[in-house]
Assembly symmetry: C2
Homo-oligomer: 311 residues x 2
């Protein structure tokens, strides 16, 4: 194997570029803006130009690079073809072939962003071979790793745990078009939505009433200070996530659940509550599944994308 490899995390705002040794060691990382105008026409040329400029600066030839792994915020089909990235303005697009052509035919692997994060976390952080990553951020995403490999799903939808059907009488729409998805309640937006609803429905005292813009962070901060309404909301979120994880365990029975995303920064109050409910709902054989927080943070995608080349 050649000595170097790139791992790239293509997001809706920035592109994160990571430069690695092919033993998995990160040497450098930087960001460029994601130019979404004109249906994201410039995105791949920008990435190729950034790679070329970096290599030139370091006096490294492209022929010393084993390949480029890149993750995208959308479904990925066979052969590195991306099937719609709404955030980027992309329709069906052969990202693997296009990026490779821009870089003299270099090997390119394309992977969904949540799946890349799952692969990155399991490879770098914990060495689990069978694990499920659940990212609790604005929404809820996830990735499933079986035998050390991403499970992409027949329609690119494996790990879409945020769209578990959990409530039959929801009236508001989820971003996916359904009603009653897990992420409508247990994501950062979900818990903020529930907090506002609860505050408007009851007159119970809560420090949350004085917050101008109520977000998940305020709810967790208030819960840590003992605010009853906030504590109830955290219990509710923990119960919903824990119960969904118990269902996930009935399907793939992983060695570990890895909890990532912005909400995971709430720390032990979140993980302990999730674990309590997970154990309550889990099938007996799976009660002791490890539940840990993600450790790579925003670098997980770069690591995972890079592993698509070196594994």
């Amino acid at each position: 194997m050649r000595p170097y490899v790139f791992g790239i995390d293509l997001g809706g705002t920035t592109v994160k570029l990571g430069f690695f040794m092919t033993d998995g060691t990160m040497l450098d990382k930087w960001e460029i803006p994601t130019r979404k105008e004109n249906n994201g026409f410039a995105i791949l040329p920008d990435i190729a130009a950034s790679i070329r400029a970096y290599l030139e600066e370091k006096n490294i030839a492209l022929s010393e690079v084993e390949g480029v792994g890149i993750d995208v915020p959308g479904a990925v089909l066979e052969g590195g073809v991306v099937n719609r990235c709404v955030n980027l303005g992309w329709g069906v697009r052969p990202v693997g072939a296009e990026l490779s052509e821009l870089l003299e035919g270099i090997k390119v692997a394309v992977v969904n962003d949540a799946n890349a994060a799952a692969l990155g976390e399991t490879r770098y952080a914990s060495k689990w071979n069978n694990a499920v990553l659940i990212t609790i951020g604005t929404g809820i995403g996830g990735g499933v790793i079986i035998n050390g490999k991403i499970v992409p799903g027949a329609f690119g939808a494996a790990g879409e745990i945020g769209h578990f059907p959990v409530c039959d009488d929801e009236t508001e729409l989820c971003g996916c078009g359904k009603k009653g998805c897990l992420e409508q309640y247990a994501s950062a937006e979900g818990i903020a939505r529930l907090a506002k609803k609860r505050l408007s429905e009851t007159s119970v005292e809560s420090v949350l009433r004085s917050e101008e813009s109520l977000s998940a962070k305020e709810v967790f901060d208030a819960a840590k200070e003992g605010d009853m309404l906030a504590l109830e909301l955290v219990e509710e979120l923990g119960q919903m996530i824990g119960r969904a994880m118990a269902a996930v365990a009935c399907v793939v029975d992983p060695e570990a659940f890895i909890i990532g995303g912005g909400v995971s920064k709430a720390g032990p109050i979140l993980i302990d509550t999730i674990q309590k409910y997970y154990r309550q709902y889990a099938f007996h054989a799976s009660k002791e599944t490890a539940i840990i927080t993600a450790s790579l943070g925003n670098d997980a995608g770069m690591y995972g994308a890079m592993h698509m080349i070196i594994d």
Copy 2:
């Protein structure tokens, strides 16, 4: 590869033995009773004796047999070690090593019975590489196939879809020790239990009132004749299974769901109802997942166990 292979399905009442060519063609099958007395001491010697007698009768040497695949009604750990088969009186037991020793060191593969059925169905019947088998019988079991291979789970509990947590206010215990598992409502026993409950709670007319012993079959037969209460029960079962399958699709997003088990003999009324609710609850990308009935019936375990040797 040698020309012959055995696939054995070890159940609580009978052992089903299948004799195959190593191209997967079944040549013969027969059954022997499962002798459970003395903690199932005689089971493996009985199987070995049956295999030897059969080969002797057919004038085939053991050296012409590639191996023996055997499925068991319990969790299987690494190396063919079985971790409790309550129905057989077995605790932790190195079934692979024991059966191999009884047959001159032949290659033996041990697999969970639901997983074997899933492998058998996907290999023989439909050639799916990514599929989930759901068996709706007395209880609800299942198996998950990813990239053509069984997903056993870290604790042998993958595919235990019958133990999805679906109801928080159930008062009766499931066989697994939890309350509110899917199979308490949507299995053959579950639907019979719900039917009795509904009959005792309401005074609505139903042909089910005249049934002496009410089973799932009577409920489906009555539904096919238009009995309103029976139709409602079938809708409820279809909704529960369809919703659970939508959650399964959010985890592994299979190409197909294969519905097996005794209840699947109800035919289109069951599959159509499941499909209607599946599509209602499924994430948009996975709405068109194939839903088919199993085709190998009681032979699925033998086929799957055999494939553990020849794959």
